[in-house]
Amino acid sequence: MPYRHLIGPRSYVFADLKELMAKATPLRSGDMLAGIAATSAEENVAARMCLAEVPLATFLTEALVPYEADEVTRLIIDTHDASAFRPVSHMTVGDFRDFLLSDAASPQALAALAPAVTPEMAAAVSKIMRNQDLIAVARKCRVVTKFRDTIGLPGTMAVRLQPNHPTDDPAGITASILDGLLYGCGDAVIGINPASDSIPVLSELLKLTDDIIARFDIPTQACLLTHVTTSTEVINRGVPVDLVFQSIAGTQAANASFGINLATLREGHEAALSLKRGTLGDNVMYFETGQGSALSANAHHGVDQQTLEARAYAVARPFRPLLVNTVVGFIGPEYLYDGKQIIRAGLEDHFCGKLMGVPLGCDVCYTNHAEADQDDMDTLMTLLGAAGVTYIMGIPGSDDVMLNYQSTSFHDQLYLRDVLGLKRAPEFEAWLQSMGITGPDGRLKPQGGANPLLAYAPGLAA
């Protein structure tokens, strides 16, 4: 069904809902590359005005990616919570924005609404929201998850300690882990991107992180960011696995390009649950996403990349993940061209995820061929801190020497905690104090060379 909007003498016609959504999206290079972006500034606003008039219920009957052809669409439609939807079922997209900003949308009301919000609804309303709206509403959404600590409590922000090494050298990875812990990082997860996919190498790394966590009784969890089927295989061999990881996308075809489907994810989820390694909770999955992944796999169905990104959160949602991470600037300038586009996308992704009840963190990052730099990252991380982001990355000096991109650093999270008053997961905060790393105010204490953590690497320490 075509959608029309009149601006002065000019009538804008949008062939269907997915064209309307694409044209209403704030401009970004990936949608231009796909040939679906608005071709003028006026057309972009006409599409937003038109979208604001669309009833939310339309998204339950007019699928952007065909129901018959796509298991993600089927998941979204078949598991939609009609009773939770009732309070907003009469609203248009524009009404929905007003409601979300109002006091009626309390943290409790938003939590109750989350299972009724489809990714298309979240994406649609985000397209008519300014950056401050995305921050203000996301800040009201509470998503709390647990494994060995409690992530997502109000006033907290966690950090993934990301100790990557170009050749997976255990001593090098250990050095980065110790540095990160001594900077107060790691309450979200100690998560390694391995360079190798060989099972013996991966098993050694998993035993290393398990040993460090056990030796110092750290209230956190480890994860190796390898393919879900590899994690399942490693679990079957009796290697200690806390969280199972997978990159996911918003269409069945894009997921197929990652070598997964919903059934594969279910197998990985069940394997991780079977180990019962969580002490406080059983949120055992870690997912990563990023705008542009579907287009890059030629699996986008003509749908804009931000809407497809929100659909990836619908893939994550039924698995009750501990953490979901939008790796916002990693994929390159053909999808998000510059700092402005990366900042906007990071805020959109975080808002959509939180509105849908998913514990969204953000890898605030860029590559060296994007028009972005550290100042842009400072801006985005500060905005996300204000928006209540679940977690960010902690990478030594912002420089990931394995993946060749720049993200947030151990230092950056200290800055955010100081400026915004953000605390760590409470169990981890208490552990840092017990180790003499932080004081009662959560700030780092001056360290000598005698911290017990340094004894873990006797050949390396001072």
């Binding site: 290079s29 231009m32 590359l33 990557n164 090494h165 170009p166 050298d169 001593a171 090098g172 990875i173 250990t174 050095a175 980065s176 110790l178 540095d179 001594l182 991107n193 360079a195 996919d197 060989s198 390898t226 393919h227 390159g332 300038p333 053909e334 061209y337 590559t367 060296n368 061929h369 730099d373 550290q374 990478i395 030594p396 000096g397 912002s398 420089d399 020497v401 394995m402 993946l403 060749n404 991109y405 720049q406 650093s409 230092h411 200290l414 800055y415 905690r417 100081d418 780092l444 001056p446 360290q447 000598g448 060379g449 005698a450 911290n451 340094l454 690497a457 390396l460 320490a461 001072a462």
Partner: protein, 268 residues
């Protein structure tokens, strides 16, 4: 062994575990000024980023590159992709994978010349890498090609080019395999890294899973000699087994094979 902090200008809190940094190229034990980086680290980072940015945007010196390669005894040709500018190249990966009209015309006299190996030297995302590594690498490769008696035809220097441009070049030349030497996506600590992609029976539409990749060819990475050895080894296997890609693994296990996760997500 120091048990106390070591102030320098009085405001920097140094980390007492500086020796840990010997175990990794990662930026650890940087010290801090308040919660921020010390001035020296902020500036060191800014320099590395500037070098990586320059590697992407420094104009490709195709003529100088061609001259250096010609001096090794190779015939050279210069072609451009369909991307008219660096900005277009960055925004439109599809254009960087296609020859320009002029490029096709340049190659026309060599159509069907059927060398064993076509060599394409592509600026990719780091012209710096090509300026520094392409000729020395080819110098290391040449004797290995001669040893096996492989014919190569002209070395095709390609501007604003991505890996898959080699498929069209290879299809026109009707070569048995194509090797694309390309500037890799620059890392903060590796702005001048060369990547090598080998594709058997190249033709337009080949997927990245049908290539083998040798990554990180640079001073602090894989040496030119070692990389040349690996490429010759792979080529021999590829010609014998009539394939490249995920089912052709380097026995040395040091090789990054296209299709693996993004440690080597390159100029694609």
């Amino acid at each position: 062994m120091s048990n106390e902090t070591r102030p320098t200008n009085g405001y920097i809190i140094e980390d007492a575990w500086a020796k840990l940094a010997r175990a990794t190229p990662a930026r650890i034990a940087l010290g801090r000024a308040g919660t921020g980086l010390p001035t020296r680290e902020v500036l060191r980072f800014a320099l590395a980023h500037a070098q990586a940015r320059d590697a992407v945007h420094t104009p490709f010196e195709a003529e100088a590159t061609a001259a250096a390669i010609a001096a090794l005894g190779f015939e050279t040709l210069h072609v451009a992709s369909a991307a008219p500018s660096r900005e277009a190249y960055l925004r439109r990966p599809d254009l960087g994978r296609k020859l320009s009209e002029e490029g096709r015309a340049t190659l026309a006299p060599y159509a069907g010349s059927a060398p064993d190996l076509a060599l394409v030297v592509a600026d990719g995302l780091s012209s710096t890498a090509i300026h520094a590594q392409a000729a020395p690498f080819l110098a290391a490769l040449k004797p290995r090609l001669a040893e096996e008696g492989w014919s190569t035809g002209p070395v095709v220097i390609a501007s604003q080019a991505r890996v898959a441009l080699g498929d069209e070049v290879g299809e026109i030349l009707a070569c048995r395999a194509v090797a694309v030497l390309i500037g890799e996506r620059p890392g903060l600590s590796s702005p001048d890294s060369l990547g090598l992609y080998l594709t058997f029976a190249p033709r337009v539409g080949r997927s990245d899973a049908e290539r083998n990749c040798i990554s990180n060819v640079r001073g602090d990475g894989l040496s030119h000699d070692h990389a040349a050895f690996k490429l010759a080894w792979l080529l021999k296997e590829a010609l014998a087994r009539r394939l490249t890609g995920v089912s052709l693994k380097d026995e040395s296990d040091l090789l990054l094979v296209a299709g693996k996760p993004p440690a080597s997500r390159l100029a694609g």
